[in-house]
């Protein structure tokens, strides 16, 4: 697979997801960067910042004409901002300890929009078939989640191809980081 083409298709897919999320939240959604790099295996757990910082993540594997993994990571505060934007009345009624399920639900929904838009655009653009797994929502250390994804893909090469997409919602830094790990 040509990664330059993949990045272009991801950009096209996220443009459509951006519009959908903007309509749902009533805020501007901006894709702030799309970068492709080859990272040393040992550096991948540091990709989203401090490896022991807690994130909510949606994990999707895809198979078909090519295989890989997508991780969409949200800082807990960013997930709360997303939830407030998507369901303001509902959030106002909830106590702090009741928000976990809501955050997971919001992360799942937003990740479905982002992940399926990106995968559909890659599949259409490369005329390939990609089959995504159901998303798995995990709350844990960012580095542990990235490491577990590498293990799941039994990545053996020293250099790992990574596509790193960063997004933000409205004027705040609230957003998400989408990481593609092709196998």
């Amino acid at each position: 697979m040509n990664y330059d083409d993949v990045i272009r298709h991801i950009g096209e897919g996220l443009e459509s997801a951006r519009k959908t999320l903007g309509t749902l939240t009533g805020k501007d959604v901006e894709v702030t960067s799309v970068k492709r790099s080859e990272m040393s295996l040992s550096e991948v757990p540091f990709l989203a910042g401090a490896p022991d910082s807690v994130v909510l993540a949606s994990y999707i594997r895809f198979s078909g004409d090519c295989r890989g993994q997508i991780l969409i990571l949200y800082r807990p505060d960013n997930a709360k901002d997303l939830a407030r934007a998507l369901a303001p009345e509902f959030c106002a009624e909830l106590k702090e300890e009741e928000t976990e399920d809501l955050l997971e639900s919001v992360v799942s929904e937003v990740s479905n929009i982002l992940g399926s838009a990106a995968l559909n655009a890659i599949a259409d653009g490369t005329e390939s078939t990609l089959r995504p797994s159901p998303p798995c929502i995990v709350r844990d250390m960012a580095g542990a989640i990235l490491e577990a994804a590498l293990v799941s893909g039994t990545v053996l090469s020293e250099k790992v191809p990574v596509v790193d997409v960063r997004m933000k919602l409205g004027q705040t830094d609230a957003g998400a980081e989408m990481i593609f790990l092709p196998e």
Binding site: F46, D52, V54, Y59, G143, E147, A148, V151
Partner: protein, 167 residues
């Protein structure tokens, strides 16, 4: 009491490190399916850490030395050898281990549980070298950060959910 300054050495995925300098603190951040292993010689006060990525090299030829420790079957014996060169005795070494979790449990039932395989591989290698495991916090489905203080040999494990314990 005077503040003790610590020199943090980060043992990244697939790496090993060892030290006899009291100010050193070896850290393996965010172990998921990987296993963190510490070895400690209480007489010479030499400590080592491995951040094991996969259980076996399956006979694969590893041309670059820095890539070798990621596999338990190469990394653990290599750590023992490097600590012995530093003055540690294999007979005195004690081991502690953490990690080997399954962060996406039940999602891919057809896939092997590599966290559990990493734990089994490390245990088997330690048994082969007659090194006792004196502390362990493995399995489950949460990430862990493991730290080894060379000054004391104290090994701690912390999770994302505020649990911190000495093993």
């Amino acid at each position: 009491m005077a503040e003790v300054k610590q020199n943090v050495i980060v043992v990244k995925l697939g790496q090993i490190a060892w030290s006899d300098r009291p100010e050193d603190l070896l850290v393996a951040y965010s172990l998921g399916s990987c296993v963190g292993l510490t070895l400690w010689d209480p007489v010479e006060r030499i400590g080592g850490m491995a951040h094991v990525f996969l259980p076996s090299s399956n006979g694969r030829e590893i041309s670059r030395l820095e890539e070798a420790p990621r596999f338990a079957d190469i990394g653990v014996p290599l750590l023992i050898e490097r600590m012995e060169r530093k003055g540690a005795s294999r007979k005195r070494l004690v081991a502690r281990m953490a990690g080997g979790a399954s962060l996406f449990p039940g999602l891919f039932r057809e896939m092997p549980d590599i966290g559990a395989q990493n734990v089994s591989a490390v245990v088997e290698i330690l048994q082969k070298h007659s090194i006792p495991i004196v502390g362990s916090d493995v399995g489950g489905n949460c990430g862990r950060t493991m730290r080894l203080e060379i000054r004391t040999g104290r090994t701690t494990v912390a999770t994302a959910f505020g649990v911190k314990k000495e093993i």
